[in-house]
Amino acid sequence: MPALTSAGTEAELFAMVLALGRERGIELTVAELEEIVRANRRAWFERWLVR
């Protein structure tokens, strides 16, 4: 499997992450990953605002 850092799109990255999770017995969903991205984006904006 190529490195996660090489993913060109979010869909490609999510597919790799879900596959890696399954290999390790962790069942993730696309919705969960999307929520992580949203939370990270919010945190990023908040940190800029208080910088």
Partner: protein
């Protein structure tokens, strides 16, 4: 842990009593090619990987990375008055793949100015941060330059203590042109009442917010020039905007111990043709337009708060030029600055 390809982008908790942390961003082998550190990081933050994965470590991890993989030793530091061509200088240096140029990186400026962190931790953390950002990116880099945010020159003594052997330059420009630029588009540090980590003016907040934009910005700019003047030593060099761009591959390069090839100079000349902050636009000199905009309050503020320091910088620069022509710009052994600049009471 190995941090190859990762760069520290932010300090978290360095202002409080608790533990300090570092946020990292995956950059791979990408070079810092944008006018500012933050611009490169913002592009990297758009990568799918960085949108999904965030990475935070303790400051100790930065120290472990410093021990395991020391970055390049800085070839030179660039301090400046602001709005005076410093971004042009960093763009010219960035044009060469052999140069790693970190331009106004928040984590470096924050640690440099963090007077609330006791020594020697502050100097140590600063060295760790400079090392982490000084990792080779493409593998071709042989030189490492750091351009600081303009108010960071207030922390010049602390930076010199942490990096005593790194040569540095201070770039400055006609004070009226700089002030007009800030009145057109104020920077945070030049805006009265806007709280940043920099306390450039020693006055109560009530007094600060009552100041006109002209007076406040002029006092901050004047203080920046004063700090450069007070900090000048044998490793430092003063550069006026009027000396650009040739000084970059001339006297400044010699100060940094660097010799640029004719091909490298051609690349830097090309970079100097474009607007440093808007690299797709050709550069157009705007000094005359700015001078025509000087109002009476701006003129008064320049004369009172900046001009005395500017004139002193010019005097020191002229004296250093005389020394270079005499072939003697070695530091005075007893006092630091070169003999003609040394103002110590005892003779050199």
């Amino acid at each position: 842990m190995k941090h190859d390809g990762w760069v520290p982008i932010r300090m978290v908790g360095a202002g409080g009593a608790g533990e300090a942390f570092v946020d990292w961003c995956w950059l791979g082998e990408e070079r810092f090619t944008q006018p500012f550190f933050d611009s490169t990081i913002e592009i990297a933050q758009g990568l799918p990987f960085n949108r999904l994965f965030t990475h935070r470590t303790s400051i100790a991890e930065l120290g472990a990375w410093y021990a395991a993989s020391p970055g390049m030793v800085p070839s030179g530091f660039l301090f400046h008055m602001s709005r005076c061509g410093s971004t042009l200088v960093s763009r010219m240096l960035t044009a060469l793949p052999e140069n790693l140029v970190i331009s106004e990186a928040g984590p470096i400026d924050l640690l440099a100015r963090a007077g609330w962190i006791p020594e020697p931790a502050r100097a140590e953390w600063l060295r760790w941060m400079v090392s982490a950002l000084g990792q080779k990116r493409s593998g071709r880099e042989t030189r490492y330059f750091i351009k600081f945010d303009s108010p960071t020159v207030l922390a010049l003594p602390a930076i010199r203590r942490a990096f005593p052997s790194v040569p540095w330059i201070f770039l400055y420009r006609d004070p009226a042109e700089v002030l007009i630029s800030h009145l057109r588009e104020p920077a945070a540090a030049m805006t009265p009442g806007l709280i940043t980590d920099v306390r450039a003016i020693d006055a109560p907040m009530q007094e600060v917010v009552a100041m006109s934009p002209e007076e406040y910005a002029a006092r901050v700019i004047g203080r920046i020039c004063e700090c450069a003047r007070l900090g000048i030593d044998g490793q430092g060099m003063l550069v006026n905007y009027t000396q650009l761009p040739e000084v970059v591959w001339g006297e400044a390069a010699r100060r940094f111990g660097v010799e640029f090839s004719p091909d490298e100079i051609a690349l830097m000349r090309e970079a100097a043709l474009y607007d440093a902050k808007r690299p797709r636009q050709r550069f157009e000199a705007d000094g005359e337009g700015k001078r025509l905009e000087v109002s009476e309050p701006a003129r008064v503020a320049v004369t009172r708060w900046i001009l005395p320091h500017y004139e002193e910088l010019e005097r020191l620069r002229a004296a250093a030029g005389v020394l270079r022509n005499l072939g003697d710009d070695e530091p005075c052994a007893g006092h630091g600055p070169a003999p003609l600049l040394c103002e110590s009471a005892t003779p050199c």
